[in-house]
Symmetry: C2
Subunit: 126 residues, 2 copies
């Protein structure tokens, strides 16, 4: 695993939540697990832009941070289910607040974000 060379700040609540929530797919993973998509293959289908590998890595970190648990069923083909821990459940309202703000200001956000990307040749999907 990668070893940090710069020590993280853990001074305030914002630092702390950042440590466990940051990661391109983590919030989405938590949300989908929350909405009942528990199996790795399901999560992958819900998040097709992420590779299987990355999801595994980020799920593992969520598990280490005690936001989710991983249950393995001893069957073939293998079956695994992720669930939110009680701790993990407490962060759902915060994620909901993030998503809600984004939804409420969708038009304006799209504007300012696309304006920034406009100079590039990147085609941004609607």
């Amino acid at each position: 695993m990668y070893e940090r060379k710069i020590i993280p700040n853990l001074n305030c609540g914002l630092d702390l939540i950042g440590e466990v929530l940051y990661g391109k797919w983590k919030i989405r993973l938590l949300w989908f697990i929350h909405t009942g998509h528990k199996r790795p293959s399901e999560l992958q289908r819900k998040i097709p832009d992420a590779s299987r590998r990355v999801l595994n890595v980020q799920l593992k970190e969520l598990e280490e941070h005690e936001l989710v648990t991983r249950k393995i069923y001893p069957v073939v083909p293998p079956k695994v289910e992720y669930s939110l821990t009680e701790f993990g459940k407490t962060v759902i309202p915060v994620i909901a607040a993030l998503g809600q703000w984004g939804d409420e200001h969708e038009g304006r956000l799209r504007d300012v974000i696309l304006r920034q990307v406009a100079g590039t040749d990147v085609e941004v999907p609607l």
Copy 2:
């Protein structure tokens, strides 16, 4: 400026808020501006771990995303003040929710985070 090679997802509110809030110091910057620390030098003193340069870059992005405005006073030595826009003010409660969750679960968060870093030789300050 850096040109993205991977197109960002802008499918949902979570993607959108991520685009404008992500950046190591942005949330802190917004918060300190909210609490009345408007001048660049003040912000730097409040966030000593960030270099002047990085703060400038992130403030500029916040400005491009219309979360803050920058007012220049034509005096010498120069004086600049950042303020939240009306739009920017709407995101403050969301940031407050993030910080509050982190504060509420400070002990546990510190635990799980430090456990992860424990293997490394990194010294993490209390």
